[in-house]
């Protein structure tokens, strides 16, 4: 299947350009490499994922992680396969009935990708938590699918405590709960760095404060000696930098501020046109607002720079914190601007003008990068780390795209579910308007919490008995919810809660294959984002209501 690179090249032999025709692995992963590139793929290929609870939802999530090529997965479940399991889970077969479900699902999931290693542990989580916590914490990421509420929190505690210790691994937990059409995904992590959010643009054109070589270039152009062809192919960036530079000379060094000045600026620009239909001038006029938009560090990044963990770095700080710390030193020095990005959008221009302009940006980026690296070396030395601790590739990626990073700080799952103050605050923050999907989803979250407490009390889920009347269970969950809401008898809970509880009870904690697939997709997307440190993950809870085909997320 693997194409032979050399033969093709030798037989065509048109030029000396080497082929780089992709190998079988690159071709297999082509459609995903276009999203997270080889760096993301490397992270994925070193990820070890543990699934606790072997149900359809968990296996669907794993399927979406095995396919793109994680390193390893383990499924932990003591259960034997039932016919109900087979009927909802694609990664089982009627032949599986009676055999350990973890082993059976591992077998069928491994078929999806020969590069991925999988194994089963036929054991109780409760005993492993005591006997082998190190086994649990040996994974990169853990998915808990519909495990008992008490165990769910014990697992969350273990991971939170491990991540809490200085230098300990930060192991995210993704926990799933579903019943019929309703699903919930919660993420617990202490802290997560996003090294590339993949913003729409990464340009830092600096039109308001051009670097010297850019301004010099723009001013050096002599319009009088240009033919009309040349004139209509000057890039709009150059036109604007030049016009702004001339404007500043006659306005005490200031750029247009009032709307009259801005209009006047555009009029002056228009006067330079030699023909009516010069596209580059059309583009310049449309982009003129960039002249008076201030180049600065994006607001979100400024917030990060204020964080204590960035202000005070040590040898145990994460790379991103050290880079941000260095960035704040970088911007403390005039011209107090973030580094220049080497990227330039396409614009109407001749090839030579465009390439020349692009090279100016690239050179500026190189010089900013060098300045950044020397500041970084000082920072590293100060905190007792060797120069080169942070790989060059990572430093360059950061400097190219300083707006595209992020830090997410989490809360412990137990606090979210038990901390009365937190729930009370969240309840106070939301108004229950049944016409709004977001508030329905929040009511659903509370109804799920109440159902979990029902389970803790009865060791069974509400509505789990197929034929029986559900009203008794509903009634009891409503009472529990009243307690969560701090409502006193004899008040009735709002209709929206009655409805949410009724829908959850109706599902009886049963797994619909469609709900399982939907949640499995979400969980895998989030796992990929967490493992690759690319794209912004969920922070921290999402409720999916597939009766109404909607969802809402909450930071709890």
């Amino acid at each position: 299947m693997d194409d032979s690179i050399d033969v093709t090249h030798a037989t065509t032999g048109i030029t000396e350009i080497p082929s780089y025709r992709p190998d079988a692995k690159t071709r297999r992963y082509d459609r995903q490499l276009r999203l997270w590139a080889s760096a993301g793929q490397r992270s994925l290929e070193s990820a070890r994922v543990l699934l606790v609870g072997c149900d359809a939802t968990g296996c669907q999530a794993l399927k979406n992680l095995v396919l793109p090529g994680i390193s390893h997965f383990t499924i932990l479940s003591p259960d034997l396969t039932t016919s109900q399991d087979v009927a909802t889970n694609f990664f089982l077969h009627p032949d599986s009935v009676g055999s350990p479900i973890a082993e059976q699902s591992v077998k069928y999931l491994k078929e999806l990708n020969p590069a991925v290693d999988g194994s089963a542990r036929v054991e109780e989580l409760s005993s492993l938590l005591i006997s082998e916590p190190d086994f649990i914490t040996s994974f990169t990421l853990i998915i808990a699918s519909n495990i008992e509420p008490t165990l769910e929190l014990q697992l969350a505690d273990l991971l939170w405590d491990v991540s809490n210790s200085v230098g300990g691994p930060d192991i995210p937990l993704i926990s799933i709960r579903n019943s019929g059409f309703i699903g919930r995904v919660e993420i617990q992590l202490r802290e997560h760095s996003v090294i590339d959010t993949h913003p729409d643009t990464t340009h830092t054109l600096r039109l308001d404060s051009p670097f010297p070589s850019l301004e010099q270039h723009a001013r050096s152009l002599d319009f009088t000696t240009m033919d009309s062809m040349e004139h209509s192919h000057i890039p709009w960036v150059v036109l604007l930098v030049r016009a702004a530079s001339i404007w500043k000379e006659s306005h005490g060094g200031k750029l247009p501020e009032t709307s009259e000045e801005k209009a006047e600026f555009k009029e002056i620009l228009k006067k330079d046109k030699v023909k009516g239909d010069e596209e580059n001038y059309e583009e310049a006029l449309a982009q003129a607002y960039r002249v008076w938009s201030k180049s600065e560090i994006p607001w979100e990044i400024k917030q990060l720079l204020e964080d204590d963990s960035v202000k005070n770095v040590s040898s145990s700080s994460k790379n991103l914190h050290i880079l941000l710390h260095t960035l704040s030193q970088f911007t403390a020095i005039p011209p107090h601007l973030p580094p220049t990005s080497p990227s330039l959008p396409d614009m109407h221009s001749s090839t030579t003008s465009y390439v020349h302009l692009q090279n100016l940006y690239k050179k500026e980026y190189q010089s900013d990068l060098a300045r950044f690296k020397s500041l970084l070396a000082e920072v590293l030395q100060k905190i007792g780390l060797e120069d080169g601790t942070i790989p060059d590739e990572e430093v360059e990626g950061f400097v190219k795209n300083v707006g595209g990073v992020g830090i997410i700080k989490g809360t412990p799952l137990r606090e979210r579910k038990e901390g009365k103050g937190l729930i009370a605050q969240s309840i106070a923050d939301y108004q229950y308007d049944e016409y709004d999907g977001s508030t329905t989803c929040f009511a659903m979250h509370l109804a799920l919490l109440a159902s979990e407490r029902f389970y803790i009390a009865h060791k069974r889920w509400p509505g789990v008995k197929v034929k029986s009347d559900m009203s008794e269970d509903n009634r009891e969950v409503e009472e529990i919810l009243k307690g969560i809401l701090g409502q006193k008898d004899p008040e009735e809970v709002d209709d929206i809660f009655v409805e949410c509880i009724a829908e959850i009870t109706r599902g009886g904690s049963g797994t619909l294959p469609t709900t399982a697939a939907f949640l499995g997709g979400i969980v895998a997307q989030e796992a990929i984002k967490l493992v690759t440190n690319q794209y912004t993950p969920l922070d921290n809870t999402v409720i999916v209501n597939l009766v109404k085909s909607e969802s809402a997320k909450f930071k709890l």
Binding site: N64, D95, P114, T351, G437, G507, A517, S549
Partner: protein
Amino acid sequence: MTAAVHNGIPNGVASSSKLASYLADESRFASIDKILDRRGPWTDERFEGGQGTKDFLRNQSKILVIGAGGLGCEILQNLALTGFNDIHVIDMDTIDISNLNRQFLFRESDVGKSKALVAAEFVMSRVPGVKVTPYHGKIQDHPLSFYEQFNIVVAGLDSISARRWINATLVQMAQEDEEQLKPLIDGGTEGFKGQARVILPTVTSCYECSIDMLTPPTAFPICTIANTPRLPEHCIEWASVLEWPKVHKDKKLDTDDPDHIEWLYQQASARAAQFKIEGVTWALTQGVVKNIIPAIASTNAIIAASCCNEALKIATACAPYLNNYMMYVGNDSVYTYTFEHEKRPECPVCGGESLTADAGKDWTLERFIESLTNRQDLQISKPSLSYSKGALFWPSPSDVYEATKPNLDKLLVDLLGDEEGIVVTDPALPVSVNLSINYV
């Protein structure tokens, strides 16, 4: 229940008794039965529940899946597990190695085989009791009568023109006979994003109604490609659009042939070097000429699940179905947007009103045609225009082209005289469009 049991494929004699007892065990559907036996707070009035509902789903309904690719594999899995026992699937493609990162019913040994056939086989062997009937071929090759046999159509396509075709076909069927109204559930994904929608032909907005929501394909002006390349993409376009036909004459460019891509890559690289442009790579060359859209299993899972969830709701009325559009965005946290897309009264497929086209009195026919090809709500590239007296301009066949070519330079107002209406057809248009001209 036995009526619903079709030919499962037992793995051997030893397991066949296990299989038989599994298939006889109705309690295996316990999870799904909870929502089919019991009404929820938001359940439709028409929901009956119980045996009748389950019997329709499992024994009577017939569902068509269009596409056995990224979405199609997921859709087939979900429908089979949900209890649709008579599933049909159409796909014209064969399996490529680049499918394997998400099209999970296929293995390396399946590369080159028909997607529809392999997918159907796989689902039947994994979910015994389900019958999946594959068709390897184009949807356009089946007559209307073929589509009449289904209750629901679920489409997981990557092609806009195929979507436009099936949409127009189902709308036409419903227009001619109300009894032939088949819900169309359509899914699509790109990277971490996607959408699922429910189309009730003639009742809700149709695919064509929302054609203007599509991002127009990136088109580089020919003069940029030919004279002033700036981006690596410009060099690749130059190689594929200008150099390939020049050098290879009548030999058609096959973007699936790695040797062809190799040739383009070499040409584009050489041109990029000449212009000092950086960034031409093999992957980019392939991406540009094949218009590759990034695709991952997890997004397909979400969108296919949503489509099949709607199919279940429509088939059983156990919950209100989506009215009518859900967007999913996963690249920045998790975000969904559910809304009702409105019918477009002047939709060429399902709207009753004719479309208006503005034209200047000083416009030539050529300029007018250009304005049509720029319209977001038409998305056409090679239109043929006719009016009551015959052809105004047809790009083919060659004799009509030669006869109508001189019209391009004439003024539209002179050509039409008192005529106000023009009929437009285009390879991308599933129907002909009546345009009324409005001079401005």
